[in-house]
């Protein structure tokens, strides 16, 4: 396969995107990028770059866009790097989300999980289902298991949480695996005993804080309509007595109301001493038109908001307070480092089922949270089985999952296979099905694509400008260190 006779160099696999006027972004098979001019690009693809007179030749060679012979170590290096990037696949299913109860004491404006009245306790996971669920979880080949308690509001069924933690740790010890627990809770029902238990047992707490009081209370209310902000803040104070600050994190869900408060939301996070924020867009699946009008927005509005809040987060870091925007941090790790990042919601092949899976309160096993919502509306196509009826093989080797893997590799997806961002991005087939009636999705109007693509592009714009402060902040996020450790200023 030597091209020596016909061409002076072999072009290695890469994708490209027209980034701005006279600026093309090239991305190779392992996510390494390079900006080139129109002219340089033309010469590259017509095999016209001259080794003797073009310094670009050596840059392309070093960055593995071209090589001279098929026997060059570039091939081995690319293989090692590719394996590194996809390493998350070797863990198979490592994130296990468990719906401890469907009951909830809140009725948040954007909630799609029809959270049953807090008194109807047959929407709780019972002990038998919990045991079978944990048994199934520990059949995963992953060396390290993460169990996330979800709901409804999981603390309403606290006894089962404790049961899963205790039984889970026993199983982890028998199977010689690591295990980590996360409680996704609104914290309004957290007693001191619960918090102490979580603190003593190294359980991570993930909670929701949409912003300052007015923003938070717009969306997150008790069933009687009153705001939850004060109680949530009070819970933070109490939690800090028992749980290490690094073990409590928060995320926010963006509603129409949030869009005008990018500053205030960050300040709220700083005030409550959070070190990370996850800025999430709304997923309007299943909403009535009325609701969409009330709380929804289109992707371009979200993107404006996201860019502003990212800028504010950077400013905050520059002032000396470390806080990372989690989504940007993930994408930056993919763009700027050679490392593997498994993130169930955004990866190729899709994370649904193979990297993360959801267990319902009644033992049903779903590809994802959204699959659970679909089932709730009567569509069971993404339900893989039930812990009481089906074996590990039935569930994890099912046609649903096999087909899913086949249909969610970037190379086989229209709109993704030719996208320069495919090493940074991912697909959610369940969301595609829910919003566009097709698991493969139709990229030109796919909001998931439009938002992710624009965020990645925006990050590349910042990278291209190469502002030293911003790049240092990015690296402080990626490596989890203070800004001062990343800088070498005098």
């Amino acid at each position: 396969m030597s091209d020596k006779n016909s061409h002076p160099y072999i072009i290695l696999p890469f994708d490209f995107m027209r980034f701005s006027k006279d600026n093309l972004l090239l991305v190779n098979l392992v996510g390494e990028y390079l900006f080139v001019s129109e002219d340089e690009f033309k010469k590259l693809v017509t095999h016209d770059i001259n080794r003797k007179s073009d310094p670009l030749y050596f840059i392309l060679k070093a960055k593995h866009f071209i090589t001279e012979r098929i026997s060059d170590p570039a091939i081995e290096l690319l293989a090692v790097k590719y394996r590194t990037k996809k390493d998350f696949l070797s863990h198979f299913t490592s994130l296990h989300m468990v719906e401890i109860t469907r009951r909830c004491n809140q009725k948040c404006i954007y909630c799609q999980v029809s959270s049953q009245d807090p008194d109807k306790s047959h929407y709780d996971m019972n002990i038998e289902t919990a045991r079978k669920t944990v048994d199934l979880i520990f059949m995963s080949p992953a060396r390290s298991i993460k169990i996330e308690f979800q709901g409804g509001e999981p603390l309403l069924n606290y006894d089962i949480i404790k049961y899963v933690i205790e039984y889970g740790e026993k199983q982890a010890s028998i199977k010689n695996k690591g295990v980590e627990f996360v409680v996704c809770t609104n914290l309004t029902r957290a007693t001191d005993d619960m918090l102490k238990y979580f603190g003593d047992n190294n359980v991570l707490i993930s909670t929701s804080l949409d912003g300052p009081e007015n923003v938070h209370n717009f969306a997150r209310r008790y069933r009687d309509g009153t705001g939850t902000y004060r109680d949530v803040i009070n819970s933070f104070e109490r939690a800090k007595k028992y749980v290490e600050p690094s073990k409590i994190s928060a995320l926010m869900t963006t509603t129409r109301y949030s869009l005008i408060y990018p500053d205030e939301i960050i300040n709220e996070y700083v005030k409550n001493e959070f070190r990370s924020i996850f800025v999430r867009p709304l997923n309007p699946f299943g909403y009535s038109k009325q609701k969409i009008d009330e709380i929804g927005y289109d992707s371009s509005e979200f993107l404006i908001f996201y860019k502003e809040i990212l800028e504010n987060t950077l400013k905050t870091n520059l002032k000396g307070y470390f806080i990372e925007e989690s989504f940007a941090s993930l994408l930056l790790t993919r763009i700027l480092t050679p490392f593997s990042t498994g993130f169930v919601d955004l990866q190729f092949p899709a994370g649904t089922g193979i990297s993360g899976v959801m267990y319902g309160y009644n033992g049903n096993v779903y590809l994802s949270d959204e699959a659970r919502m679909l089932a709730n509306m009567g569509d069971y196509r993404f339900c893989l089985g039930n812990v009481h009826k089906n074996s590990y093989r039935d569930i994890f080797y099912s046609d649903t999952i096999v087909n899913l893997i086949r249909d969610s590799c970037a190379e086989s997806l229209p709109g993704c296979s030719d996208c320069a961002f495919q090493m940074y991005c991912g697909i959610d087939p369940v969301r595609n099905y829910a919003t566009q009636n097709d698991a493969i999705g139709y990229r030109p109007t796919n909001d998931f694509c439009l938002i992710n693509k624009e965020i990645i592009r925006h990050l590349f714009e910042i990278i291209l400008k190469n502002d030293l402060d911003k790049m240092d902040i990015f690296w402080s996020w990626i490596t989890g260190r203070n800004l001062s450790e990343v800088r070498i200023k005098a």
């Binding site: 080794r51 290096l77 050679p338 990343v486």
Partner: protein, 379 residues
């Protein structure tokens, strides 16, 4: 290597021994060279040799069979525990200094490359140094913190290198080893497998890089295939979890490529534990090719800072060797190491008033002329 000289008596062949300033037991004397002894003639029997700073040979030593070197002017540089080799002409090579942090085992001068700045010429008359080195290792103190295996190209002596490593492992278990090699031999998987199975508890392989592509690197290494060989060697070493360090000498050819080399290392050889940027030593070919290699110290600062910042951002460990503090901006001082062997006289007269002399690497004696009008004491 440090060398002193005196007047020889009774020396028929090269002699190796550990320096002691006071008497030792009869068993120990077979390995000991006693220095400036103040003891009776009977007590002087059994030593490998006697060395003395006396200008005249002492009466009790006159009739001794024991080899003697006297009239040594520089004897006071020796410490108790140093290891020296004495030659029939009265030359004394100091092979090991107990108080130095920079002891080496010179494995061979043979090499399969031809680096344009190489300080070490090939010696065709050398023969095998392995026996000598094994004895040297047996005489070194167990408290030695670090030892470097150098050359030439240490892997050029085949299994002898493994013998040396095993001797270090068994006799100097607390001593960290640094194997300086161009890495090409490790492109052979079986060789790397064998090397890794020696299980030395603390050995780092130090490999030079002079470019992010084979054309630039090979031209400095003076050998085609050096880059590809080094890459494959490093990948093999990494697959057995060996500790690897990359070193780049800063020359006119490399100084504006330091960032690109760092990028290449970060993306392709991420497991590398340490990256060192080194000032040029101008002896041997380094001296011959000076015009080709020399770059004004001011020019290197910006690219050096960029490369170091790049690595620091990514959490990689990095150091600067052989560049004095007065030439570096303050924010880079924390990366500069005291890297020049103590025996290489490395400070100028100007340096006597310098407030940071104790932390400074100084400069190579060979480059002091070139640096003279650049260096200045920090007050």
């Amino acid at each position: 290597m440090l060398t002193i000289k005196g007047i020889p008596k009774n020396i028929r062949e090269p002699l190796l021994g550990k320096v002691r300033f006071s008497e030792v037991s009869k068993e120990e004397r077979r390995k000991t060279i006693i220095a400036n002894p103040n003891i009776s003639k009977k007590a002087l029997e059994g030593y490998v040799a006697i060395i003395s700073s006396d200008t005249e040979i002492r009466s009790e030593m006159k009739d001794l069979e024991t080899p003697v070197v006297y009239g040594i002017k520089g004897l006071k540089i020796l410490s108790e525990g140093d290891v020296i080799e004495i030659f029939p002409n009265g030359t004394i090579n100091v092979l090991y200094q107990i108080n130095s942090r920079h002891n080496i085992i010179f494995v061979t001068s043979k090499c399969d490359c031809n680096c344009i700045m190489c300080p070490q010429p090939v010696d065709d008359n050398e023969g095998s140094l392995t026996e000598l080195n094994l004895r040297l290792i047996s005489l070194m103190s167990k408290s030695t913190e670090e030892l470097a295996l150098t050359g030439g190209e240490p892997t050029a002596v085949g299994n002898d290198l493994f013998k040396l490593i095993l001797a270090c492992r068994d006799l100097l278990p607390q001593t960290a080893l640094l194997l300086l090699t161009n890495g090409r031999r490790f492109s052979n998987f079986e060789y790397t497998h064998f090397f890794s199975s020696l299980r030395h508890p603390n050995i780092t392989v130090g490999i030079p890089f002079y470019g992010d592509n084979n054309i630039e690197h090979d031209s400095i290494m003076g050998s085609r295939g050096a880059f590809d060989g080094a890459i494959r060697g490093i990948l093999n070493l990494a697959s057995f979890n060996n500790s690897i360090e990359i070193r780049t000498v800063i020359t006119r050819q490399t100084y504006n490529k330091l960032l690109r080399i760092s990028e290449f290392i970060y993306r392709n050889l991420t497991f590398v534990r340490h990256v060192a940027f080194m000032g040029l030593e101008t002896i041997g070919r380094g001296q011959q090719n000076l015009k080709l290699l020399w770059v004004e110290p001011e020019k290197i600062l910006r690219p050096l800072e960029e490369a170091i910042h790049y690595l620091v951002q990514r959490g990689m460990t990095t150091s600067i060797y052989n560049i004095p503090l007065c030439l570096l901006p303050r924010n880079l001082w924390r990366f500069a190491r005291r890297s020049i062997s103590e025996w290489k006289d490395s400070f100028d007269l100007k340096c006597s008033g310098c407030s940071v002399k104790a932390q400074c690497s100084g400069v190579f004696e060979s480059t002091i002329e070139l640096f003279r009008h650049h260096i200045k004491p920090v007050l």
